[in-house]
Structures are given as structure tokens and as C-alpha cells.
Amino acid sequence: MIDVMVLVVTIILVLLTFAGLYRAIVGPTAADRIVAINMISTKVSTIIVLIAILTRQNSFVSVALVYALIGFVATIGLAKLLIKGRLDI
């Protein structure tokens, strides 16, 4: 019973991720795209944890931690590029 609920939550989250991808493609400014990418990164990390629990592969939870780390570093790098115009200062 709980399996079915978690599966439905995973499917809804995948659909919401594709809905948020719209703002990353047609966003008017660059900051809109960074906001959308940040939200997609958090959401994909949650989806990875849900799939790891559903398939009983317990070591896949660490993949979600690494994905959240990569998303955070990418967001900070893109925002710094937006402020300074270059990345080596």
C-alpha cells in the first residue's frame, strides 16, 4: 500500500520536473534559468532517494547526496558568472 503511494509520488514529481523545465528553456533572463535549474536539481535529488527506497537498493541514497552537491556547486558557479562575467577572479 505504501509502495503504491511512493510510486505515485515519484511519477508526479517527474511530471512536475518536466513542467519546471519550461521556465529553464523560455525564461526571459538568465536568473530565471538559474532559479529553474536549482529547483530541478533539488527535485531530481528527491526522485533519486525515492527510487532507491522503492527498489531496495540502499546504497543508491549516496548518489542523491552527490547529485545535491553537484547542483549546489553548479548554481554557485553560474551565479558568480552572472555577477562578474568571468570565473577566474
Partner: protein, 103 residues
């Protein structure tokens, strides 16, 4: 199915529904609000809340094991880094939108 399992089931269902609600509010705000800062207000707050509720529901389902400790580490990491990234995106959006026009 005794009383404790029923209480656990009710809490898991409530937390999953709350997490999906907050995610839906975040995506709706991202798609419909007019400005960068209002979109950021919708996404970051609701995103942190939705991820927190869904991962806490999974911790309640798993019980006190090694996997739930790992999920809590992921959750604390998301709660630490998401507001930091939100502040930095707001600063960069403000500088790139308003400070460059004054020069």
C-alpha cells in the same frame, strides 16, 4: 495491522501529500509569477519544504536504520545549501538587473 502501523500509515500519507502540495505550489509559482524575485520566493521556500516533508515520510517508513540516517544526511545537506544558493542567486539577479543600468 495493529494500532501503531495505522498511525505510521496516516503520518506517511499526510507527509507525502504535504510534500506533493508544496512542490505543486512551487512549480505553479515558477510558471505563473511575473518577476525573477517573486519566482524565487515561490520556488526556494516551497522546494525546501517539499523535499523535507517527502524525505521525513521516507524516514518514518524505514524506521531507525542506517538508510534513514543516510536520508537525514541528504535532507540536512539540502536544508543547508538551498537557502545559501537562494541568497546568492538573488544577489546576482539584483546586480545584473539594476546595477549595470546605472553605469
Amino acid at each position: 495491522m495493529n494500532l501503531l502501523e495505522i498511525i505510521q500509515f496516516i503520518f506517511i500519507a499526510l507527509f507525502l501529500a504535504g510534500g506533493i502540495f508544496f512542490y505543486m505550489v512551487g512549480v505553479l509559482g515558477l510558471l505563473r509569477l511575473p518577476d525573477v524575485f517573486t519566482r524565487m520566493h515561490a520556488t526556494t521556500k516551497c522546494d525546501t519544504m517539499g523535499a523535507g516533508l517527502i524525505l521525513i515520510a521516507l524516514v518514518i517508513w524505514q524506521g531507525f536504520t542506517y538508510v534513514s540516517l543516510n536520508i537525514l544526511v541528504v535532507l540536512i545537506f539540502i536544508w543547508l545549501t538551498n537557502p545559501t544558493a537562494a541568497h546568492y542567486i538573488a544577489k546576482s539577479a539584483y546586480i545584473s538587473l539594476y546595477k549595470n543600468e546605472e553605469k
